[in-house]
């Protein structure tokens, strides 16, 4: 379903993604983890055609990223971290616009949008009358998630999808991911919320400085490294081991 072949991205002299190579079969939920600046978002942007790789390529749903970019985009859904939308459109106008870009007929799009509204507990009146600029962060995130899934893509990339969602919406969303995976959808889930990743994902890939550090089932990795939790494993392999002591030292600088 997703196969990276030495995917590399340089920004000038800086190597953001360094020959990344892995394979994800259909129906798997993969957590893509890494500290800030590890290259997660850059990888996702390359895989969705938003950035051109410096070298290497990837195969997504049987299509080559470099030679068949439009076919790849048709099969892929992406929920970016930024949550950017056109703020002067209403939620409905925005989603109908996105549906049209994927060639979904307007009637079918309207039905699909209503299904998402029901799932996210959003009112149709709000969606059709209020401009996106006036939405709360959580409502906007729901619209962005909907826009990424509207065309029923077999492969979906999520970049910090829970940011802004309330607890109920987050629980529902996690259940949705697992159901989608059971139905054969492949999901790549990038996040810093490690306990969610641990619970939701079948497999985690940890990268740092653009390189693959670890790849495997969360429970197996935790056991093999003797870490106890995914969070401890993460700090262990990404050099964050001394954070607690540093935090204590820093807190002392606040003392009057």
């Amino acid at each position: 379903m997703l196969h990276l072949h030495s995917l590399t991205k340089n920004f000038g002299k800086q190597v953001a993604v360094d020959g990344l190579e892995f394979y994800v079969p259909a129906g798997q939920i993969v957590g893509l983890l890494g500290p800030n600046g590890a290259g997660k978002t850059t990888t996702l942007k390359m895989l969705t055609g938003m950035l051109a790789p410096t070298s290497g390529t990837a195969t997504l749903c049987g299509h080559d990223l470099l030679t068949e970019p439009i076919e790849v985009k048709r099969k892929v859904g992406f929920v970016p971290e930024s949550g950017a939308v056109y703020e002067s459109l209403t939620g409905l106008e925005y989603l109908e616009m996105v549906a049209a870009l994927y060639g979904i007929p307007s009637e079918a799009a309207r039905i699909r949008i209503k299904q998402f509204l029901a799932f996210f507990d959003l009112g149709f009146d709000v969606l059709s009358e209020k401009l996106l600029g006036a939405y709360s962060k959580g409502m906007r995130r729901k619209v962005v998630i909907t826009s990424g899934l509207l065309h029923n893509p077999p492969l979906v990339f999520f970049d910090e999808p829970l940011d802004g969602l309330d607890a109920n919406a987050a629980v529902g969303f996690k259940a949705l991911l697992q159901s989608l995976a059971r139905d054969g959808h492949t999901i790549v889930y990038s996040s810093h919320i490690l306990d969610v990743v641990e619970r939701v994902c079948d497999r985690v890939i940890i990268i740092d400085k653009g390189r693959l550090l670890l790849d495997g089932k969360p429970e197996e990795l935790v056991v093999s490294h003797g870490s106890g939790t995914l969070e401890r494993l993460f700090t262990q392999v990404t050099g964050g081991g001394e954070l607690e002591r540093r935090a204590e030292d820093f807190a002392k600088t606040f003392a009057k």
């Binding site: 920004f11 000038g12 800086q14 953001a16 600046g37 978002t41 850059t42 942007k45 969705t48 055609g49 938003m50 950035l51 051109a52 439009i70 076919e71 985009k73 048709r74 892929v76 992406f78 970016p80 930024s82 950017a84 939308v85 056109y86 703020e87 002067s88 459109l89 209403t90 106008e93 109908e96 616009m97 996105v98 549906a99 049209a100 870009l101 994927y102 060639g103 979904i104 007929p105 307007s106 799009a109 309207r110 009358e129 209020k130 401009l131 600029g133 006036a134």
Partner: protein, 532 residues
């Protein structure tokens, strides 16, 4: 917007909606929030239609001269519109996360954006040409034919103009590479704006030649609007060989520009969008820029001038945005280009002519507006929500922040531009008494920067970008321009009456009082109402 499965139509409708509503209104309901741009567009079209009546003065001229005047003014108006909006429309950074991962080709995206720009250009052109077309219909021998041909040639002119701007951007992308595109965009947009202003000088050439310019003059072939006037003349006027030559040139050049911009170079557009989307891993602010700026600010006289820490912080922030921020640069510098070019044109045109004093006064009037124009532009930013930090700080009002921004404008833009103009004027060896006429505009500068235009006395970069296109702000700037022109007229009158010294003394007194009053009001002003 309604759903339609044709991606091209969807994109076109999307960009037209965004143009009419603005990209980031303050929120609210669909029917309430984004009226300002509609209003502004309506008022702009009415203003253009009113300006179009001026062309009737030239109605008795041969068709070529008449059409050349119409086309040159249309060229300037459309050119300035396309040049000022193209950077924001073509390379909107926030758009990448919304559209770049959708199944649309870069060509479709580019074409949809350009189509909307051409469409709006045609509205502007239509409004400006309305009076001229009516005049031509009633006064010319083949009135109806002229109207039809002129509408077609104006549409071609709009396509040519938009094509030129897009082609310049894409050529820059191809020649200088993706890495340097961002820094080149501001310069490109400035140069394009200057080119349109200079090309719009055709009416002045026509006037100085007593409007006896014909299609056969060799130099006419160098001025783009004349090609399209040639098309008018060939099909509805004299149909001379020279007119046909110009007409052929207009068709060939438009076709070539369109093919280059939207065909051959369009593939590079995706590269440009991807470049905008790249987060540079570790971007150095400006090579050695920070220490240099800090050193300058910590030394006299700037350290004396910026004693207040809040004023200094606002000064530094404004300068950093003027140097680094792509959106601020794209709005400020191209807007400044005419302010740099027009005074030089006025001044050089005025040399040794009776109209010289008026030219000098016009130059002063233009310069007098500079601080308030820039200050108003700097009120707005894509990152306006970050200005919440100012309200959270223990400050009674925005006075010091506004003051710091004003000082940055004077230091970074007004003084350098005045210096350049002084050098140009000095090299021109003109009449030194004309210099006296410049003084009133310069004396007024400290006060014009304090005028509470736009949203009033607000911190820099604290207002949404689309607010900068509001009708109120447009009218305020037109009002400031009229006031400035009035000052220029008074100066000429004072010189004519031989009381210029007295006039200057009175003006200095008025400016001093106004300055004290405005500064006192500024530092007492409370926080304005919050956005959103």
């Amino acid at each position: 917007m309604t759903a339609n499965t044709d991606p091209h139509a969807t994109l076109r409708r999307l960009f037209l909606t965004l143009f009419l509503r603005g990209r980031s209104p303050l929120g609210g309901k669909k029917e309430k929030a984004p009226t300002s741009l509609h209003q502004k567009l309506t008022w702009t079209l009415l203003l253009y239609a009113a300006l179009g009546f001026v062309v009737l003065v030239f109605l008795r001229q041969p068709l070529f001269g008449y059409a050349a005047y119409l086309h040159s003014m249309t060229f300037v108006f459309i050119g300035m519109f396309v040049a000022s909006s193209s950077g924001e429309v073509l390379f909107c950074r926030e758009e990448a996360d919304i559209l770049l991962h959708r199944p649309i080709t870069p060509k479709a995206l580019l074409w949809a954006k350009v189509r909307v720009m051409v469409e709006v250009s045609l509205w502007l052109a239509g409004a400006f040409n309305l009076a001229g077309l009516m005049g031509g219909y009633f006064a010319m021998e083949h009135g109806l034919r002229f109207v039809i041909v002129h509408v077609v040639s104006t549409a071609l002119l709009a396509l040519f103009t938009a094509g030129c701007v897009v082609m310049v951007y894409l050529l820059c992308l191809k020649l200088f590479g993706r890495e340097r595109l961002e820094s080149l965009m501001t310069l490109t947009q400035m140069l394009v704006a200057i080119a349109f202003v200079l090309a719009g000088q055709l009416p002045n050439l026509l006037q100085s030649a007593n409007l006896k310019v014909s299609a056969s003059a060799w130099w006419v072939a160098l001025i783009p609007p004349a090609w399209f006037a040639g098309l008018d003349d060939a099909l509805a006027g004299q149909a001379s060989l020279a007119s046909w030559r110009l007409a052929a040139l207009s068709l060939v050049v438009t076709a070539l520009t369109t093919w280059l911009a939207f065909g051959r170079l369009a593939e590079g557009y995706q590269q440009g969008l991807q470049t905008m989307n790249e987060t540079k891993g570790w971007v150095r602010a400006t090579p050695s820029g920070r220490p240099l700026l800090h050193r300058i600010v910590s030394l006299p006289p700037l350290s004396w001038w910026l004693r207040d820490p809040v004023t200094r912080a606002s000064f530094l922030m404004t300068i950093r945005y003027l140097v680094r921020d792509r959106d601020v640069k794209l709005r400020v510098y191209p807007t400044l280009a005419p302010y740099l070019i027009l005074p030089i044109i006025y001044f050089l045109q005025g040399q040794g002519k009776p109209s010289g004093s008026l030219a000098a006064a016009a130059m002063a009037a233009t310069l007098g507006l500079l601080p308030i124009v820039v200050q108003t532009l700097l009120q707005h930013s894509n990152q306006w929500q970050a200005s919440e930090i100012f309200r959270r700080a223990p400050l009674a009002g925005p006075g010091s922040l506004y003051d710091g921004c004003q000082r940055a404008v004077v230091f970074m833009l007004v003084l350098p531009i005045l210096s350049i103009l002084a050098v140009v004027a000095g090299l021109s060896r003109g009449d030194p008494t004309l210099w006296m006429l410049l003084l009133p505009g310069l004396i007024a500068i400290p006060v014009t920067g304090l005028l509470p235009l736009g949203r009033g006395w607000v911190p820099p970069l604290s207002q949404p970008l689309d607010e900068s296109k509001s009708v109120r702000q447009g009218f305020q700037l037109v009002g400031a321009m009229l006031g400035s022109m009035l000052l220029g007229g008074l100066v000429v009158l004072a010189r004519h009456l031989g009381v210029i010294t007295g006039f200057l003394l009175v003006e200095m007194g008025v400016v001093a009082v106004a300055y004290v009053f405005l500064r006192r009001s500024l530092f007492r002003s409370p926080w304005p109402e919050e956005n959103g």
